[in-house]
């Protein structure tokens, strides 16, 4: 736990046609959690925490929420968290016992031999830093 993780941005990120983050930018973070799911034997809860993105020579906080996963693995899925951009009462998360936090993606896995399988693509939605 706490091991460093890295990812690369694979598409330009734009806001109102203005480039915010260029393709190739590096995102870094840490493995936050790897626990057996006490409610489902043989399943594991994985939390990935991305904290910083390096873009245009600057390091800025990575404040975003995980939306989707694209992977060949059949045993890895996103546990939808409370939406941090909406009023708290309007949303029912998949994992209500795990509070949401910016930059933290919660995954459900059946196999921990390959937590981040090759070719894993994650889609994150940026959040207001409030």
């Amino acid at each position: 736990m706490g091991d460093r993780i890295e990812a690369r941005v694979i598409e330009d990120v734009k806001q109102k046609h203005k480039l915010i983050v260029a393709r190739g930018a590096q995102v870094t973070g840490r493995l936050r959690r790897l626990d057996e799911d006490l409610e489902h034997a043989g399943r594991f809860i994985i939390a990935l925490e991305f904290t910083e993105i390096e873009t245009a020579g600057r390091r800025v906080p990575f404040i975003a929420q995980l939306e989707h996963l694209k992977t060949a693995s059949l045993w890895l899925k996103v546990l939808r968290q409370r939406d941090l951009s909406l009023p708290a009462q309007t949303y029912t998360p998949d994992s209500p016992d795990i509070p949401a936090a910016p930059g933290v993606g919660i995954l459900l896995a059946k196999d921990t031999t390959e937590i981040l399988p090759k070719g894993l693509i994650m889609t994150w939605r940026s959040l207001e830093y409030r």
Partner: protein
């Protein structure tokens, strides 16, 4: 001429006492080498009215918290660290301090804490050892606040440690001896610690916490906090403290060190 020296028979310290000593040394060393640092704390605040089936989330609060010079300071994200209590930013609902570092400093670094070994336990499939601790009224700096009233109260709890690495895994704190003038029955806090990289070194820091505070009316407040984006702090801030009315008759006065607190 002969002289005799008679030494009293001494019982060697138990393995649990020696282990406790090593745990305290490790925590003290971790705190001593920890640079000033800051994390983003995201708190999901919920309330549970008497007879309601479950907690209802009322809001999500984001603050930056820093430990600077042994003090906990708070700021709105991107703002300056100019307040020692989150209630200055979150004016309604329950808020607390201490999760970040103050519990550790009070429990493990100051004399007066009583410890007792409580056996082995399992934490997520990992074997850990558990100890009970007690902070008596005279040495506790923990403050409970409600409106304009506040009281300094004793507390007790447990902590869980990996016996081989001596890494702290979890700590809880229970406040259940509260002056009757305050409409609060009980406060409990639980903090989970994990490894974070700060600067070039790694440290055990709080990763998540949960605070539950029960009022005399039956209303319960629950704050679940996740600490993320932890990094070394490289800034300067100045704080000032105002005078407060204190109602606790048995509390020790003149405790200068920062300590945990809960505000409702």
């Amino acid at each position: 001429m002969f002289s005799a020296i008679v030494c009293g028979a001494q019982t060697p310290p138990s393995a649990e006492t020696l282990l406790l000593s090593r745990i305290r040394e490790k925590i003290a060393s971790n705190l001593a080498s920890l640079p000033s640092y800051t994390c983003l704390e995201t708190t999901e605040r919920a309330e549970h009215a008497d007879h309601a089936p479950s907690f209802r989330v009322s809001d999500i609060l984001q603050l930056e918290v820093a430990e600077i010079g042994g003090k906990e300071l708070f700021a709105k994200p991107g703002g300056s660290f100019d307040t020692a209590h989150p209630s200055a930013v979150a004016t309604t609902g329950a808020s607390s301090t201490g999760d970040f570092a103050l519990y550790l400093r009070t429990i493990f670094l100051h004399e007066g804490t009583a410890f007792e070994y409580a056996g082995e336990a399992d934490s997520n499939g990992q074997q850990v050892v558990k100890y009970v601790y007690d902070i008596p009224p005279g040495t506790s700096g923990y403050t409970i606040m409600h409106g304009s009233m506040q009281a300094r109260v004793p507390y007790h709890g447990h902590f869980w440690v990996e016996p081989n690495s001596l890494n702290l895994v979890r700590l809880d704190a229970i406040v259940d001896r509260i002056p009757p003038q305050l409409p609060i029955r009980r406060v409990s806090a639980r903090i989970d610690y994990r490894r974070f990289q700060i600067g070039d070194s790694s440290f055990r820091l709080p990763q998540s916490s949960e605070l539950v505070a029960g009022q005399s009316s039956g209303l319960e407040h629950r704050n679940r906090t996740e600490f993320t984006h932890c990094r070394q702090y490289a800034g300067v801030s100045t704080i000032s403290f105002g005078d407060e009315k204190e109602i606790s008759p048995g509390a020790e006065s003149g405790l200068e060190r920062p300590a945990a607190s809960t505000s409702l």
